[in-house]
C-alpha cells in the first residue's frame, strides 16, 4: 500500500502499472500447465485417493474371509445417526455347552452414514474399518443399505485404489488420463 497523495497523472500511471501486472500474471498462467483432473477418465490410471479417505464401512476379514465381529453392538450405540443395526442370537457352543452371542445380521445404511468414524473407535475387536472406495452412487436408496457380514468385499469398483492409487505429489497437477 502506497501513500495516496499522487497527482492526477501519477495516479493513472501507477494504476496502469498494476493493471499490466495483472495482465502479465494471467498471461503467464495461460501458458502454464493446467490443473484439471479428468475424472472419470483417469479413474483407472492417474487417480489418487488418500488411503485414509472414508468412503464406506467394511468388515475386516482375515485370509479365510472370516470376520471378527462378535455382535457386541458397541458401534451401534456409538453411531450418532443410527445407521448401524445389528441382529444377534444366542447359540450354544456344542463343545463347551456355553451360550454365546452370534451375529445374524450387520446392517449398515451407507445413505445415513456421516463418516465420523465413531463406530470404528468404539469397536474393541478391530472388526470394522473404512475404505476409500468412494464410487458408491446408486439409483435406488435401498441399495445403500448394506449387510456387511453377508457381502464379500473385494475392493469395490476400483480395487487397485485401496492403497491410494497413483502417487500424489504436492505442488504438481496430473491432468493426464493415461
Amino acid at each position: 500500500m502506497e501513500d495516496n497523495n499522487k497527482s492526477y497523472f501519477g495516479e493513472i500511471g501507477s494504476a496502469v502499472k498494476t493493471l499490466a501486472i495483472g495482465m502479465k500474471t494471467t498471461l503467464t498462467e495461460y501458458f502454464t500447465k493446467k490443473s484439471t483432473e479428468q475424472y472419470p477418465e483417469n479413474r483407472k490410471t492417474t487417480l489418487h485417493v488418500s488411503a485414509r479417505h472414508r468412503g464406506r464401512l467394511v468388515f475386516s476379514r482375515d485370509e479365510n474371509q472370516n470376520y471378527k465381529c462378535v455382535g457386541c453392538t458397541l458401534c451401534e450405540k456409538a453411531c450418532p445417526n443410527d445407521s448401524i443395526k445389528i441382529l444377534t442370537e444366542m447359540v450354544e457352543d456344542p463343545e463347551t455347552g456355553k451360550k454365546k452371542r452370534k451375529l445374524v445380521d450387520y446392517q449398515y445404511d451407507l445413505g445415513d452414514c456421516m463418516f465420523c468414524e465413531l463406530c470404528v473407535n468404539a469397536c474393541n475387536f478391530d472388526a470394522i474399518h473404512f475404505t476409500n472406495d468412494f464410487e458408491n452412487s446408486v439409483f435406488d436408496r435401498d441399495k445403500l443399505v448394506l449387510h456387511l457380514d453377508k457381502e464379500v468385499y473385494t475392493g469395490g469398483s476400483l480395487p487397485n485404489l485401496i492403497d491410494g492409487g497413483a502417487p500424489l505429489e504436492i505442488g504438481k497437477f496430473n491432468t493426464k488420463t493415461k
Binding site: 500500500m1 498494476t18 479417505h53 456409538a78 456421516m114 505442488g171
Partner: protein
C-alpha cells in the same frame, strides 16, 4: 477456563454490568449463554473480557418472572454485540430482554411455538410438525419494558417505512456465502439499513448435543464452518479435555497446532478467492481454489477428509500423522509462498481492487470491540484480539510469531490481514514441522466418557474470529448445556453499522471481507 460466575440479581444487574464495563474495562462481550438452570429457572451467563489485560470473567443472572414471562434487563446499551446474542437467547430460551429495541426471533420461524432449549420443551414429532405455510413476516418489531407498576408492556416499532425500497439479499444469493438473508433497505444504489435474518441452515446442533454422548457431539462440529472444521473441533475437545483434566502429550499438541494452521491456510485461501469472486474476478478465485487443493491433499492424506476432517478426538487424535506428512507439508509451504504473491499480482494489488475495497465497510477499533468483531476483521482495525495470543493453547506460546494488526479499519486492510496471516501460518508450520516430538497420538480414554460437574469455556482462534464452546456438565455422559460462540454471528450483527450509507456493491464486498460462513453462525 472454569467459570466462577459473579452472581447478580435482577435488581442490581444493570448497575453492576455497567460498572464492569465502564470501571473494570470489561469491554468485550464474548457471548451470552441462555440456559434453563432447572430448579433455579431460566437465566443467562455473560462471558466478558477485558481487552487491556485479557482477563475474563463470567456473570450469571437468573431471569425474574413478570406476568408469566422471564425478563432480564438488556445490555445492548453497553455492548452493541448483545443485540443478536440477546435475540438468540430469546429465541431459544424465551427470556425477554427489557429495553432491547428489536425483540424478534433470530433463528427460528416467527410462528414457531415454544423455546426449544428449555428443558420442558416437547420434542415429540407430533408437536413439531414441519410447517407447510410461508413464514409470516411483520413490518413491526416489539420492545418490552416494565411500567411503573412492574407490569410488562409491549411497544411496537416500525421496521420499514411504507415507501421504502426493500431488497432481500439472500437467502439464495451468490455472495452471501451460504443462506444468509439480509433485508436491505436501499435508496437507489445506497444502503440505508440492513436487517440480518438468520436460521436458514439452523440445525439445532446445541439441542442435539444435549441428547448425545460426548464422543458423539464431536461429529457435528465439522459441519459448522466447514472451512474451520479443525478449529471448531479443537474448541470442543479442548473444553471437554479441560473439564476432564486430560493431559495431552506434546506430539498431540504439535500436530494439533500444525493442523489448525493448515486449516487456517485453507480457509484464508478460500477467503482470498471468494473476495475476488464477489468482486467479479473469477480468475483470482480459481487460482486460490487450485492451490487450496494442495492444502486439502496434505490434510486428506492424514485425516482422510477434505472438508469434514474428523481428526481430533477427546484425548488426542484420530490417527497418527501420515508417513509422508512432514515431507508433504514442507513441499506445500515451499509451493505456496510464491503463489501468495501471485494472488496479489492478479487481484490484491490491482488498482480496481484497491478502489473497491479501500474505505469500504469501515469500523474503527472501539466499535469493533463493542460489536465483538473478532478475527481478521477486528485486527484490521488494530484490535489485538487473536485468541492464540490472548489465551494461548497448544503450541502457540512456544512458537515465535507476532500478532498481525493493521490500522485501515476497512475492507482493504481486512484483505491484507488475511494475506499476512497466510505467511504467518506458513511460518508457524515451518517452525513446528521438523520438531514434532515422539509420543502418543492418543491418550486412551474410558469407553464411556463422563465430565465432572461444572461450567467451562474454552476458545480457539478460528479462521474468522474467536470460536468458543461453553460446557455445563452435571456429571452425566452427555452435556447439560453446550453452547458455541460462533465466529460469524457478531460479524453479521456488525454489517448494519458498517454499511449504512454505502453502496450495494460495498455490501457484497464487506460481506466477503469480514469472512463469515453461514453454517457457523446458524449452527
Amino acid at each position: 477456563m472454569k467459570l466462577n460466575n459473579i452472581e447478580l440479581t435482577f435488581e442490581n444487574f444493570a448497575n453492576e454490568m455497567a460498572k464492569l464495563k465502564n470501571e473494570k474495562h470489561f469491554d468485550y462481550l464474548v457471548t451470552i449463554i441462555g440456559e434453563d438452570f432447572g430448579e433455579e429457572g431460566l437465566g443467562c451467563i455473560y462471558i466478558l473480557e477485558n481487552t487491556q489485560n485479557n482477563e475474563r470473567c463470567s456473570v450469571r443472572t437468573i431471569a425474574k418472572k413478570v406476568d408469566g414471562s422471564d425478563v432480564i434487563p438488556t445490555v445492548t446499551n453497553l455492548w452493541k454485540a448483545a443485540d443478536l446474542l440477546e435475540r438468540e437467547v430469546f429465541d431459544f430460551v424465551g427470556i425477554k430482554f427489557l429495553g432491547h429495541p428489536d425483540m424478534r426471533r433470530l433463528f427460528l420461524r416467527t410462528d414457531f411455538v415454544g423455546h426449544p432449549l428449555r428443558k420442558d420443551f416437547d420434542m415429540s414429532p407430533e408437536a413439531n410438525k414441519f410447517p407447510l405455510t410461508d413464514e409470516p413476516e411483520d413490518d413491526f418489531t416489539v420492545e418490552y419494558s416494565l411500567d411503573k407498576d412492574g407490569h410488562l408492556v409491549e411497544t411496537k416499532h416500525r421496521l420499514f417505512e411504507e415507501d421504502e425500497y426493500v431488497v432481500n439479499i439472500g437467502p439464495n444469493h451468490p455472495s452471501t456465502h451460504g443462506v444468509l438473508r439480509l433485508q436491505t433497505v436501499i435508496d437507489g444504489e445506497t444502503v440505508k439499513r440492513i436487517y440480518p435474518h438468520l436460521g436458514y441452515i439452523h440445525r439445532g446442533i446445541e439441542k442435539m448435543w444435549e441428547g448425545m454422548t460426548y464422543p458423539q457431539t464431536l461429529a457435528l462440529t465439522d459441519r459448522l464452518n466447514y472451512l474451520s472444521a479443525m478449529m471448531h473441533r479443537h474448541a470442543l475437545v479442548g473444553v471437554i479435555e479441560e473439564a476432564m483434566g486430560i493431559e495431552l502429550s506434546d506430539r498431540i499438541r504439535y500436530i494439533r497446532t500444525i493442523m489448525d494452521e493448515l486449516q487456517r491456510i485453507d480457509s484464508h485461501l478460500l477467503f482470498l478467492g471468494c473476495t475476488a469472486q464477489d468482486l467479479g474476478a473469477l480468475t483470482a478465485f480459481l487460482y486460490c481454489m487450485r492451490d487450496r487443493e494442495h492444502v486439502l491433499n496434505v490434510m486428506e492424506e492424514t485425516t482422510g477428509g477434505r472438508l469434514i476432517m474428523n481428526y481430533y478426538r477427546i484425548g488426542g487424535l484420530q490417527a497418527d500423522i501420515d508417513p509422508n506428512f512432514v515431507d508433504n507439508t514442507k513441499k506445500l509451504c515451499k509451493y505456496l509462498r510464491p503463489k501468495i504473491q501471485e494472488y496479489l499480482d492478479v487481484f490484491g494489488d490491482n488498482v480496481i481492487t484497491h478502489k473497491r475495497l479501500e474505505g469500504v465497510g469501515p469500523m474503527d477499533k472501539e466499535n469493533c470491540i463493542n460489536y465483538a468483531v473478532t478475527g481478521p476483521a477486528g485486527r484490521a482495525a488494530g484490535w489485538k484480539n487473536d485468541t492464540r495470543k490472548r489465551h494461548p493453547y497448544d503450541c502457540y506460546d512456544k512458537v515465535n510469531w507476532e500478532e498481525i494488526t493493521m490500522t485501515g479499519c476497512d475492507s482493504m486492510d481486512r484483505y491484507y490481514v488475511h494475506i499476512k496471516e497466510l505467511y504467518q501460518s506458513l511460518d508457524i508450520i515451518e517452525q513446528l514441522i521438523d520438531n514434532i516430538p515422539e509420543g502418543e497420538y492418543y491418550i486412551k480414554q474410558k469407553p464411556i466418557i463422563k465430565v465432572p460437574e461444572g461450567q467451562w469455556y474454552f476458545s480457539v482462534e478460528g479462521a474468522s474470529g474467536e470460536f468458543g464452546v461453553y460446557l455445563d456438565s452435571r456429571g452425566d455422559k452427555s452435556p447439560y448445556r453446550m453452547k458455541m460462540r460462533p465466529m460469524g454471528l457478531t460479524l453479521a450483527g456488525a454489517l448494519d453499522p458498517m454499511l449504512r450509507g454505502q453502496k450495494i456493491a460495498d455490501l457484497i464486498t464487506t460481506g466477503a471481507a469480514i469472512d463469515f460462513v453461514i453454517p457457523d453462525l446458524d449452527r
